[in-house]
């Protein structure tokens, strides 16, 4: 058992976590503020026999990672803003073809080239709806360097368990911030590996066996010759135009996430037990929110913080339950209300929902948030 104390950036902690989760392949394209993830991966991966490749563009960056995952390797790609837009089509591909993959988006100010070195949280809805068509999404967002480490491991575990791309949505705040972090021994971690078929099995590549959540996944080259496509397919993996079949597949894809929300959703509820007011936030901005809650509590105001750790699927039930308890929910985020709209949808008028948000590249300060909060008093 060796414990290592380090002083790391969030982006560096992401790579440390990925390697502990078993990442052995990284492909990507340089983009600020995510580039340190590529740089550190290029340094560390060959030392553990893994592979790093800088591809010709963002699209190739995710495509190569999907290809690598099909050979049985745990693969990751990382990007920011414009690069996340470019990766969307292949996120959909990995979703329908059920290829485990971690996609990191270190959010910056947008739209377009926007504010490359400044924080933003304008990609939360893109993380859910960015690729075309109905599809399930798992998206996690950390608020610290340590949690970036933890959630990167969790992202790999969820990707393997549910055979789906998992989006780790960090931001320039957590990506570039440095904090002390204790790196645990790998033996203390729970690492999930995809289930592979046994040799000699009558293998149908997209058939879910009884008791399994997803189809077993054979590595290319492992003796199971099968077909992978982004077309609607039947349980053999071959394309099918049948509407009945498409119905079965899309419902299974949605269902494997929806039916396992309890396993996937995590959150932090801070000082919410007796709360009459709620601040809801996530990512780097949640640190501001927690500071504001502490100051308001010191003034005797019964306010709590609900922090999203899993953004998608959204913790609907938890937020709805709190909305029955509090009078007002202030959503703090670095955009013009993307999660605020989701909260409004979920609380169904139980509580007043307000926004403290901006998208000019600045972080929210506790004072700004307190001022916005006090407007309700």
């Amino acid at each position: 058992m060796s414990k290592v104390i380090k002083f790391l950036q969030g982006n560096e902690a992401c790579v440390e976590g990925a390697l502990m989760a078993g990442m052995r392949f990284y492909s990507g394209y340089p983009i600020t503020p995510s580039t340190e993830i590529a740089e550190l991966s290029s340094e560390k991966l060959p030392k553990v026999g893994g592979k790093f490749i800088q591809m010709e563009d963002e699209i190739a960056g995710i495509a190569a990672a999907i290809g690598a995952s099909l050979t049985g390797k745990k693969a990751m790609t990382a990007t920011s803003g414009p690069g996340f837009s470019l990766k969307q089509e292949n996120i959909g591909y990995a979703t329908i073809a059920e290829i485990p993959l971690v996609v990191v988006n270190v959010q910056r100010g947008g739209p377009s080239t926007g504010l490359p070195t400044s924080p933003g949280q304008g990609d939360v809805m893109q993380a859910k709806w960015g690729t075309h068509g109905d599809h399930p999404v798992i998206c996690l967002t950390p608020d610290s360097v340590k949690e970036t480490f933890d959630l990167t491991i969790r992202a790999f575990n969820l990707a393997e368990k549910y055979r789906t791309p998992v989006i780790l949505l960090t931001d320039e705040i957590t990506g570039h911030m440095r904090e002390k972090i204790e790196i645990p021994d790998v033996s203390e971690l729970e690492i999930y590996n995809r289930i592979v078929p046994e040799a000699g099995d009558d293998y149908k590549a997209y058939h879910v066996d009884d008791g399994d959540i997803v189809p077993k996944m054979a590595p290319f080259g492992g003796g199971f010759r099968y077909h992978v496509t982004g077309l609607m397919h039947d349980e053999t993996g071959f394309p099918s135009n049948s509407t009945q079949n498409a119905d079965v597949l899309i419902k299974r894809l949605m269902g494997k996430i929806e039916d396992n929300k309890e396993d996937i959703i995590t959150y932090e509820a801070y000082e919410t037990e007796d709360a009459e007011y709620l601040i809801l936030s996530y990512g780097g901005t949640a640190r501001t929110a927690k500071a504001a809650v502490k100051k308001l509590r010191a003034e005797g105001i019964k306010v709590g913080l609900f922090r999203l750790i899993t953004v998608w699927p959204f913790p609907e039930e938890q937020v709805r339950a709190l909305s029955e308890q509090v009078k007002d929910i202030l959503v703090a985020e670095l955009n013009f209300g993307q999660i605020k709209l989701e909260v409004e949808r979920v609380v169904k008028g139980n509580a007043n929902v307000r926004l403290c948000g901006k998208a000019n590249g600045e972080i929210l300060t506790p004072e700004e948030l307190i001022k916005a909060f006090k407007e309700v008093l």
Partner: protein, 270 residues
């Protein structure tokens, strides 16, 4: 009628294929199967990757590890497969639009890296799947559904494009000259490094009809008359006037990408 090649290398239950009568793509697909048979590759260690389009449906019929990806991206997916598991023989099947328009960036960079991928371009000079739009290899002046007044673009020579970008093996043949085509595919599979075989195909349904090229047989005869072997062209240049040149454009040995990466891993162990 039993055909051992078909039974060994094709998914019998997925045939017949979707291609139109007279389409040249089946000829290329069978040439690839024969080349794989000749090369003696283990079926379990062959991975065939394609993008989107008529030609990209081929992997679905072929009994290997097969990956039908997104439009233009076959080479990028294949690069990940090959680098992650260099033991696999990775063959990329791509149409002219898939490979040189939407996927053009991946083509030049895969060639530049000299990664050991074998790319077979099914070049029918048209976007067939979407109904006959002009592609980057449609000749100037030819018609497509999006070039109703004649194409004003200049076409790519895909073989020379790959060669210029650094492919260490690049050859061109047609579906009429199928023995030569198969020989080049065999050489490309055996070649260590990025190899590219441009297989000039025919699309009687869209390209032929739009450009009044006659029947599928007429189009095959056109291939026969329009292409001259590079060796003949060198000896008797007068025979090559106004003709397309087929042959091995490049065949050279240079360091291969996945081997270079493995050397880095080995060096770091010391």
């Amino acid at each position: 009628m039993n055909n051992p090649l078909v039974e060994n290398y094709f998914r019998m239950d997925k045939l017949p294929h979707i291609w139109c009568p007279g389409c040249g793509h089946g000829i290329i697909m069978s040439a690839i199967a024969r080349a794989i048979e000749k090369s003696g590759l283990d079926k379990d260690k062959v991975c065939i990757v394609s993008g989107i389009g008529c030609s990209s449906r081929a992997p679905g019929y072929m009994d290997f590890n097969t990956l039908h990806t997104t439009h233009g991206r076959a080479l990028a997916f294949a690069t990940g497969v090959k680098l992650a598991n260099p033991e696999l023989e990775v063959i990329v099947i791509a149409g002219d639009g898939d490979l040189s328009a939407i996927g053009g960036n991946h083509l030049i960079h895969a060639a530049r890296r000299n990664i050991n991928l074998t790319t077979i371009c099914f070049n029918n000079n048209i976007y067939g799947m979407t109904g006959g739009q002009y592609s980057p290899t449609t000749a100037t002046g030819d018609k497509g559904t999006t070039a109703p007044y004649g194409n004003i673009d200049r076409p790519f020579d895909i073989t020379q494009l790959a060669a210029g970008a650094g492919a260490t093996y690049a050859a061109k043949a047609t579906v009429y000259h199928v023995n030569q085509l198969q020989k080049y595919i065999e050489a490309a599979i055996d070649h260590k490094g990025f190899s590219m075989v441009e297989a000039v195909s025919v699309c009687p349904t869209y390209y032929g009809r739009k450009n009044k090229k006659g029947s599928a047989v007429d189009m095959m005869n056109w291939l026969k008359d329009s292409f001259v072997d590079m060796k003949i062209a060198e000896k008797m240049p007068e025979k090559a006037v106004g003709k397309f040149i087929m042959g091995e454009y490049v065949n050279k040995v240079e360091p291969e990408y996945t081997e270079l990466y493995d050397q880095v891993i080995e060096r770091l162990k010391r």
